[in-house]
Symmetry: C2
Subunit: 329 residues, 2 copies
Amino acid sequence: MAQTVILSLDMGGTTLSYGLVQPDGRVRFQRAVGTHARGRGEAVIQQVLEVTRTLLEVASRRRLRVSGIGIGVPGTVDVARGRIRDNIQNVPELEGVALGPLLRRRFALPVHLDNDVNAHTLGELYFGRGRGVQNFAMLAAGTGVGGGIVIGGKLLRGRRGYGGEAGHTTVNLDGRPCFCGSIGCIKTYSSGPDIAAQARERLQTAQPGRLLELCGGDPRRLTARDVFAAARANDPIALEVVEIAGRALGAGVANLVNLLNPEMIVLGGGVLEASDLLLPRIKRWAASYAFADALRGTRLVVSRFIKRSSIRGAAALFLYETDRPPRSG
Amino acid sequence: MAQTVILSLDMGGTTLSYGLVQPDGRVRFQRAVGTHARGRGEAVIQQVLEVTRTLLEVASRRRLRVSGIGIGVPGTVDVARGRIRDNIQNVPELEGVALGPLLRRRFALPVHLDNDVNAHTLGELYFGRGRGVQNFAMLAAGTGVGGGIVIGGKLLRGRRGYGGEAGHTTVNLDGRPCFCGSIGCIKTYSSGPDIAAQARERLQTAQPGRLLELCGGDPRRLTARDVFAAARANDPIALEVVEIAGRALGAGVANLVNLLNPEMIVLGGGVLEASDLLLPRIKRWAASYAFADALRGTRLVVSRFIKRSSIRGAAALFLYETDRPPRSG
């Protein structure tokens, strides 16, 4: 009998990852492309159709049986309708697009769509750190900051699909304004673009240093990666920004601990590539904000799916929605 | 057949309420006494034994059949062992006391013990605003600020019983220090004692006004009630403090909305007696911190059990723990 695979797409803030994933989590094929520039919804949809066709061709060539499509998108999703509800930051034109039905009609396959971090959270439940864990939360910092919550082995979506949006909880009443309309969201301190922005703001009044060198003297070109590199070289501005990013994530961890008292919190997202810098700071700040005894009951771990793409999450989403529970850890 | 009642005790920060409650929520008898002064754990236990004896006598006199004891206590509870784990603020000596087994031995009745706000939350699920609601959260501001979370009709206790402690989530990274060891907890802005304390701090540098009159010129005697009375008379200091209390609770509501996206949030606790002042402010700030669309899906309501004692919560806790589900709303 032919091996079954799921066409798995993860639309991140900057990268569209896609691949073929077996129900046991094994990745049979995997690629990534840069997402089209912001503001071009139609182009993004075309890109999704294109990579899906590619995946179907690869599956056919390798004689793999395709069971359906799983796709994670940034923003919030009306899961029942397969519709992107609020694309939040990245591609405003995707707001309201019924991407699920569109793909279903085009490819005559079952399609399941959800928020990228919800998908990633299911990836952890099926194939990652969360295997066999009934109650855990995820906090993922990348282009944005998202979250996911699993209670009793079920993803908590809430009434309108906003469940788990830990990145848009306020940790600072009078803090930085967020594109979401709120103030002091964890995202405003800890996302990649916000880490770069906070360094850039500080550079305007600072002496030239390692940080400015790293971006070739042009603060506009500064990235979170530059900030991390400068922090490793003990640049004081970079260290200050890394500290506040870790502090906000640490408060986020503490708030999840005091509110949900989960067995585990999984940290993920591209920003956590710098876990050498961030993890000690997140742990220290979490300890200063959480009940000590509650925190002791929560394992704080870093996802294994950071450098490798999170297409396993999209595959897990498909399995979850088609009532195939994770194998016991 | 004799009517069944539950001996229901609610140990608040300042008041011990106790009564006889039928499984349908009808209160057959109810009294309250001031709790013994802080720091006297043994006296508090004696008081609990005393009122339990009183309840048994009343039940016997009225020929009511007693099915067991439900009791809500401040602080966190090891529910499986019936042990007060961390009494937090009020009676530090109760820390570690196995009140459940103690009462069970003394009265030969089944006993169920949990955190006071968890019990209150179950009271809402069984007899209050939460009847028929599968997913809701509670935020209760009184002597402390506590919370409770119901997901899929089940109370979320978490791994060690800290689940739902919304009052000790940080909304201000650099905020007021909390007795719990953290910084900027909602509690530090919105509990009764903290509302009084914030007014007191401001009085030290202010012109004499309505607020100082209300406490007879002695800021040490100032209570949250005085602050609310002064705010109603447009005292600027009182209004400022009420604003920050509402702002922190509003951010708490928003964080619950973005994290859990519940169907309902129930506000309660003695501080909400001033809901005329607080509710408009909580709503305004929640709207400024939450996703608008998520917030629209959440009904924000005030508990009906504020002035009346929350012994119904203790009764609901007993029913919940003995697997008697709430009647459908």
